[in-house]
Every structure is written in structure tokens, then in C-alpha cells.
């Protein structure tokens, strides 16, 4: 349901208000959409780019008129946890989903810590990629970093949604030698290859692991990204990783339980959780600005925000990888 909400205004002196240029539907929004857990009027949407319209008296690093990219957790970027690169766990974090960005304007708390301005107003073709940086690219990138993708490494990616596909792109940028994508959808396989996948495995679960072992001298991959959040995907990721290798998991966990003896015996490293997108934003914006990467390719459907419901349906039924929503006043 799309409804009118109170216009956002500056409440705290560290707030900014931005006019949204575009927002989108996140895979994690699909869980409440599907009724997987009880959500009473949760405001959906936590990915956003836009132009600063107002700033509080203490905001110093962004100014009115700046084009900015944020991330799904507002963070002060100064606490000990932020300085260690874990802004998604900032001691003052605010989950943007609770505020909601699938509207025309949004109040952004902790604006100095949260928002990163682009070098200038972006060309229109860059907007989808900048929006991707706000969440799915930042998340896929973190997953690849958590999996320690890099030169000489074989990286496997479980999950062919936008995050998984962008983890492929990240692994490529990070210099991975070989990138194996698990996917059984032709359109996603195609995009995976465009982003840098060298091999595709259609099998899942134990069969998928067996196929991957065949490709890696029986050892498994050095780095595996888990971008689904189910038990099957997590088990597949751990089993696909060689001893001493790294699993980066970013799929929001749904009834996942990791057997201690399996993990003990596997000898893998496990790291993940909500991505500290803010850590990577300056670098990602630069790569997009230079047109080195085009993560916006994951958006294969664009709808005005009033038709968000159609977008949820298309993603849920896998007819769309990711839906870009344009706000009303941009469609006038």
C-alpha cells in the first residue's frame, strides 16, 4: 500500500532532508512482503540517492544542493566501531527502513556520517548505479571483501539475486582469478558473465558443491559468498569452501542454524551480517563516476513509486532481478 506520510523535516541538528531521485525494492523487503514475519505497517525501502534540500545546524560535510548517496544504516562514522569499518553496527546507528525512503523526501539522521556527496550532479545514466551503491553493490562488495576475494583466488557466489551478481562484479574488481556463479536462470547467468563470472554451476546443494569441487581439484573455493539467507545456501557456502578459506555471508538469515561440528571440521572463516556499506561508498562512487563499473545493470525494471506493488510481485516471481522506483515529482 502506498500512502501519504508527513513531510520529513529537520528534527535533530545532525539531520538532513533529501529529495529522492530514485529508490528501489530490496530483496530483504520481500520477506515481510511474503509475510515471512509479522510486519505491522513497516515502512519499506532503505536504499536511496537524492539531492540535499535542508541540513541541520551541525551538519558540516554535505550542503544543500549536493547529490548524495546514503546507506541503509545511518551511522555517526566517528565511534570506535565505525572507525574500525563497521558502520552498520555504529553505536548510534539508525535503521533507515524504520524511517522509510520509498517516498519523495526523506529525513536522514547523522547526515555527516551517513551521506557521501558525488563530485558533481550526476548524468542520468549514472543514477541507477549510484542507487545500487547505496545497498546491493555495497552489500555484494562487503560479501566479497568478507570472503577475502582477491588476486589468485577462486571465488564462488551462492545466490543470483542483485547482491550475488554484484558480489561477482566486486570479486572481479578485487582481482579474483576465477569466479564461479551458482545460477539456474539464463538472464542472471548472462549478467553474471558480464560482471566477470568465468564459470556457471546450475546445480544446488550437495550436487552444486560436488560440481564446484570438480572445478577446484577437489579442494573447494578460496572465497565463497552466501547471498541468500537460507539454511541450504549457508550449508552450500560452507561446504564449497576449502579449509582455511573464507565465507562472506550477507543473505539475511531466516531460520538458519549452523552445526558446530560441521563448522569446526570445515576449517573455514565465517564473516558477514548487515554490510557496512558506508565503508565502501567513497570508493564505489569513484568507480561508478569513472564508469569503471556499471552496477546499475541489475535494475531490469523501472516503475513509478505508485506502482511499487507491481515491482514487489515481479521480484517475488523472479520476473525482475531488481526494480527501480522513481518518485512522483520526477515523473511529472
Amino acid at each position: 500500500m502506498v500512502e501519504d506520510r508527513d513531510e520529513p523535516t529537520i528534527i535533530e541538528p545532525t539531520d538532513a532532508v533529501i529529495r529522492l531521485t530514485a529508490t528501489c525494492i530490496c530483496g530483504s523487503d520481500l520477506w515481510p512482503y511474503r509475510g515471512a514475519y509479522d510486519v505491522d505497517r513497516q515502512v519499506m525501502g532503505h536504499e536511496y540517492v537524492g539531492v540535499v534540500e535542508a541540513i541541520g545546524s551541525e551538519v558540516a560535510t554535505v550542503k544543500v544542493g549536493d547529490f548524495v548517496v546514503g546507506s541503509f544504516f545511518a551511522s555517526d562514522n566517528t565511534c570506535e566501531i565505525c572507525r574500525a569499518g563497521y558502520q552498520s553496527h555504529c553505536v548510534h546507528r539508525v535503521l533507515m527502513g524504520l524511517i522509510g525512503t520509498q517516498s519523495d523526501r526523506a529525513r536522514i539522521p547523522l547526515a555527516d556520517g551517513t551521506l557521501v556527496a558525488t563530485p558533481a550532479q550526476p548524468d542520468a545514466d549514472l543514477i541507477p548505479s549510484l542507487l545500487a551503491a547505496s545497498d546491493v553493490l555495497g552489500t555484494g562488495w562487503f560479501a566479497a571483501v568478507a570472503a577475502e576475494a582477491g588476486p589468485g583466488k577462486t571465488v564462488a557466489v551462492v545466490g543470483d539475486g542483485a547482491v550475488g551478481l554484484l558480489a561477482v562484479l566486486a570479486a572481479k574488481q578485487l582481482g579474483a582469478q576465477r569466479i564461479i556463479a551458482f545460477s539456474r536462470h539464463a538472464d542472471r547467468q548472462k549478467l553474471a558473465r558480464e560482471f566477470g563470472a568465468t564459470d556457471i554451476i546450475e546445480e544446488r546443494g550437495d550436487d552444486g558443491v560436488a560440481k564446484l569441487k570438480d572445478l577446484t581439484n577437489g579442494l573447494g573455493a578460496h572465497s565463497v559468498v552466501e547471498a541468500v539467507g537460507t539454511q541450504e545456501a549457508m550449508m552450500q557456502a560452507i561446504r564449497a569452501t576449502r579449509p582455511g578459506g573464507h565465507v562472506g555471508f550477507v543473505g539475511v538469515s531466516h531460520d538458519v542454524s549452523i552445526p558446530g561440528d560441521l563448522l569446526f571440521g570445515s576449517g573455514v572463516h565465517l564473516h558477514g551480517g548487515p554490510a557496512p556499506v558506508r565503508r565502501f561508498l567513497p570508493e564505489l562512487i569513484e568507480l561508478i563516476w569513472d564508469r569503471t563499473i556499471e552496477p546499475g545493470k541489475v535494475f531490469d525494471l523501472t516503475l513509478p513509486i505508485e506502482r511499487a506493488a507491481e515491482g514487489y510481485r515481479a521480484m517475488d516471481e523472479r520476473r525482475a532481478i531488481k526494480v527501480l522506483l522513481t518518485p512522483t515529482d520526477n515523473n511529472d
Copy 2:
């Protein structure tokens, strides 16, 4: 039950036979001792130091007469997994517990990859420490490395057995700034402080975590070692770690199950399993040889091997931290 077994001999050209100088009882031996799982005549013991008595035709790096330290997994030390530092997952590994070293002599497979010779015959006072290097020190050291203990870090250790205590020693050597040991036994607290603990917490579980948060600005430790293997200890370790921090777990998992949502939300790194002791042996032997560290202090009871049963009882009842067993022909 202590029984006579066939004398070990060279079977493969890569074998060595060593005369044991000392062996000991490992905490992990206590699980089958307690009947935690079905063990039909398992040969106990997998920690050992001794003198090489015979070598196979292909053995090149140790020679007859060398004093050697091994580890609980025999490994080739040349495969891709070994070269990455994960010798406990060597593609040709042999678990020494299956061969058994709680006797006078032992056949060591893959001798070149498994054994490390000391610079000369050791003084008697070094033997307990060299024996500790073979397993408990190597394991505690790996746990501290897996938890990324180092300069500027606050390290917490869950478990005050020999491995936990030696993880404290390892954290100190690795340069940790603050080391917090969880322990409620006065004798173990004392040894923890001797090894470098700066703080002791007697509480366990949620109370222990709350106490630790009080000591760390509410953030948790950077590095936490889990050296028990129970559900409570694993949960305590994860909850005691700050977001972005590292848990190194080496307690053999017994009915442990890690909730995916807890791990996702925690933002910690998790790494562990059977320690690749071989990776650390050259360094550990050097530190012992130079008398920089004295891990042998964990042995607070020495018995002739015929009285091993008493030793199991003493450790099981927490009357002893760790029992050193001396072979028969050394007691003649």
C-alpha cells in the same frame, strides 16, 4: 585400560618411528573417557615428543637421534592446503589419535611433513613445554591467531583448561594490550595471570558477557577465544565480541548449534577447528628453546603411563589442569 600393543615399525617409506620421551592426556580425550560418544577401543593420546629411532627410505628432514616434536595430525606439509597453513586439513592427513602415542614408541606417518627437530637434545626442564607445543600450546596459539589477538587489542578467553590458559600466553606473546580470562578456579586464575591475563571474570554466560562489556565501554572484546566446545561457551564467545571482532574457536564442538540470525546480527568473524599446530611449531620451539615462554607450566601432575587412568580421573574431576605421562622405559 593400558595394554601391550604390537611394536611400531616402518611401514611406508615416509614413516619414522620415535621413542617417546613424554606424552599426556588431552582434554579432548576426556570426551570418550566420559562416554560422550561411542569409542570402541580407541587408542588414546595424540601429543608427543621423542627421539627418532628409525626412518623410512624417503625421509629427508629428520634423522635417527633427532629430538622431535609432532602434532596430532600427520601432514605432508607440501599440498596446497598445508602451504596455506592448514596442515590439520592436509589432503593426506592422518589423525595421530588413531595410531596412538600413549605407549613407548610410535610410528609417525609423513615424517618430513609432520615432525620438527629441536636444535639439539633438550634439557629435561624443557620437555614439558615442548610436549605442550605438540598440542595444547599449538591449539591455544592458533585460537589466539584466529581471534586476531595483537597489539592494541582486548582479548578475552572462554575456558580455563590448558588450551585456554595457553591462549592467554599466546595473546600476550602476540602483543595484546589487555587479556581477560573467564575462570572460577583459583589455581587456574593464578596461572592465567602468570601467563599474562590482566583481568579475571568469574561469571559465565550472560552475566559473564555483561561483566566483560562493563570492562570494554559496552563494546565487547576485539578478540575472543572459545576453548571449551559447548553451546554455552560458544554463545558467550560470540556475545562477548564486538562487531567486526574475531572469535577463534578450538573447543571440539559437542552439540553446538549457532543461530544464523545471532551470528548475522553480531557482525563478528568466526574461525576455528582443529588447530594447524604444524604451522606454528618452528616458532613455538624457538620461543621455548630461548626460554621466552614456559607453556609446560600447565602440567600440574606427572604420572607413569601405567597410571594413565588416574590421570584421566584427576583431569575429569578438575583436580589437575593437565597430566604428563612418562613412558615405562624412561621410568626404569
